[in-house]
């Protein structure tokens, strides 16, 4: 399978990428500061929400209902969107989605489009696909703009440029944004103003916009985008043509289900009681906003994930990234180390579920299984359990002879009283390698001593009592 942009490294070698990230002091500090800030804000808001656990359960239940009846909800959505003069397209994979969108833009005769921040367009590699077709797509979310100008990749689902600090952002603007003032400082207001003026020119002249959606409402055929800057709303209201790419798991049954998700999402994502901008549109409104509205419903591995009885809960995900902000691994590596569009704990399960674990066998191991992700997940995705299940699948998909042998030896030593006693005696040899063990234990002794083995194991003491 061509994994496209979902995985952009060859079988993401997480341990190697992570080593580079861990050694990058600037990155470490940027990610630590950013995640700590959002984490604290979220914790404060959750503490003041007395029915938080009930909201989580409701969110999970609504999403599970959607996943159990996905076919019916998708058809209901398509019917209602079409009734409101939106055109619904279906895409099996990234290539189909990109082709559909390219064709739609070509029909307008335009070569410039503006984009709302969207993970799914990253997932399908849309900007590059459009570039190859001679269409320039401009990111309008401030952080996405920073990432695009720097020819970089997002490192976080909600805060794509959190690996950058303001000194680095100033440099990026000066080097890559032609209309940035030459006397630009790293004052956040100055940086925002430079981006604002740059983007304003784009908003006023561009006739086609592309978005994703946070929620697709089956009952009405409407879509919702939640954002902080208002740049998304500019894209959703000013152009003549609006094309939205929506993963098929984004459905919710009814408009009133938003009551649950619009409490869960902002608290979990940015640590706010409400998203500053919630934009909902339903097809075409004559004389107001885009007069050509297209919706591309995307599978791209979602039905594959749905077939996994343990893993399908990952499709509940509302992309809040709360799991990234509490993850002690993510905090030390940032997002690029995962080598995939979706980083962090959710990425470590979602990526292998979407593309098949044989294409991402290292990702389920990129976790200490500390469980902090599950604790904060607003839709109760049991990420540690899914990680362990995927590790099982990864081991079966990719036999690793030395490791298979090591675990088989251990299991055999543990298979009976006499064998186990013999193994315990052998453990005493550890005292010779406590400070420097041969591979693979050298990975332990590089930074830690091994324990000083006792004179006799516990069972010897017990037998003699």
């Amino acid at each position: 399978m061509n994994t496209g942009e979902l995985i952009w490294t060859e079988d993401p070698p997480f341990p190697e990428n992570a080593k580079r990230a861990v050694d990058n002091s600037q990155l470490r500090r940027n990610v630590r500061n950013a995640t700590a800030t959002i984490r604290q804000r979220r914790a404060g808001l959750v503490a003041e929400t007395p029915d938080w656990q009930e909201l989580r359960k409701a969110g999970a239940a609504i999403k599970d209902d959607v996943l159990h009846h996905l076919d019916a909800y998708l058809e209901e959505f398509e019917r209602n969107a079409a009734n409101r003069r939106a055109t619904v397209h279906w895409a099996r994979d990234a290539a189909e989605a990109s082709q559909t969108i390219t064709d739609l833009i070509k029909k307008t005769g335009e070569t410039e489009v503006i984009k709302v921040k969207s993970m799914v367009t990253q997932e399908i590699g849309l900007v590059d696909a459009l570039q190859n077709a001679g269409i320039n797509a401009h990111e309008t979310d401030l952080a996405e703009l920073i990432v695009q100008l720097a020819h970089d990749r997002p490192s976080h689902i909600v805060v794509p440029a959190l690996h950058r600090n303001r000194a680095e952002i100033r440099r990026i603007f000066l080097d890559h944004m032609a209309d940035a003032p030459r006397d630009l400082t790293d004052d956040p207001h100055a940086l925002a103003e430079a981006a604002r003026l740059h983007l304003r020119r784009l908003f006023l002249r561009t006739k086609v916009a592309i978005s994703g959606a946070n929620f697709a409402i089956a009952e009405t055929g409407g879509l919702l985008v939640a954002e902080s800057e208002g740049n998304g709303r500019m894209c959703l209201t000013l152009p003549e043509t609006l094309i939205s790419v929506v993963g098929i798991e984004k459905l919710i049954p009814t408009f009133s289900d938003l009551e649950v998700f619009l409490q869960l999402l902002p608290r979990s994502a940015t640590g706010e009681r409400m998203n500053p901008y919630n934009s909902v549109w339903t097809g075409v409104t004559p004389g107001d906003g885009p007069q050509a509205v297209h919706i591309v419903l995307l599978d791209n591995g979602r039905t594959r994930a749905l077939a996994d009885a343990t893993g399908r809960q990952a499709l509940r995900c509302i992309r809040c990234a709360a799991c990234l902000n509490v993850c002690p691994v993510y905090e030390r590596t940032g997002g690029h180390a995962y080598g995939a569009t979706y980083p962090g704990p959710i990425g470590a399960i979602l990526t292998p579920l979407l593309v098949g674990v044989e294409h991402a066998p290292q990702l389920p191991f990129a976790s200490s299984l500390c469980g902090a992700c599950y604790e904060v997940c607003p839709v109760e995705i049991d990420i540690p359990t899914v990680l362990v299940k995927l590790r099982h699948d990864a081991v079966n998909a990719h036999r690793h002879r030395a490791e298979d042998a090591a675990f088989a030896t251990a299991a055999s030593a543990m298979s009976g009283r006499r064998r186990w006693s013999a193994a315990l005696k052998a453990a005493r040899l550890m005292r010779f390698v406590r400070h420097g063990a041969p591979p693979p234990l050298h990975r332990w002794t590089r930074t830690r001593d091994l324990p000083d083995p006792p004179g006799e194991p516990f069972r010897e003491w017990w037998r003699k009592r």
């Binding site: 299984l369 299991a411 930074t447 830690r448 516990f458």
Partner: protein, 249 residues
Amino acid sequence: MMHGMRVALFATCLIDALYPDAGKATVHLLERLDQPVEFPLEQTCCGQMHANSGYFQPSLVRRYIDTFTDYDAIVTPSASCAGAIRHQHAMIARAAQDDALAAAAQQTAGKTYELSQFLIDVLHTDDVGAYFPHRVTYHPTCHSLRMLQLGDRPLRLLKKVRGIDLVDLPNDQECCGFGGTFSIKNPDVSAAMLADKMESVIETGAEVLCAGDRSCLMHIGGGLERIRAGVKTLHLAEILASTDGETAH
């Protein structure tokens, strides 16, 4: 307290092999509380290391069940192993399409208790009569906190220890970076997490770092020893078993 209850100790493979003092302390402590325990010699390992590395071993699940099925309760000085027994054994059996084993696993798991759970929920005591005149900080391991949801049980027990100078560990809820084979498969991230944990421990000025899992303590203690930090690691059982005459320190 249920008198006449037949209780088994599941020492865990790690304590059996490398940390017998934590096992002995568990036995001494329970005997002091008039709760004798047996140590069935057929026991080996709960299979967590295998499972978390992707190698599901239904044979170890079966061994655990066969060894302990006749007991009224099983007590183990490890939150992580208790968590694996409660949350993984049935899953491993189901993955092997063995529904009978899954049902048996659920039953045995239901009577398996981590030490602080056993003391507080089964023996109904939080004052075990210990004496330990040292400065101690407590690290709630991830599986204590989030898998078993032990809450403040270990701290309630520690607070009742005579002579103890118990100090809060900054960022106590953050993982130490052990994660079983994670520490070998992702050694650099693991070491980075360990560095922050050690910094927090050292900041407390404690002589002793205490936890309910010898595995995490092996990792943190191995790091503290490497830099000669002068902080000792002790299992919760070792502090609770200490008395005026016999202290673990």
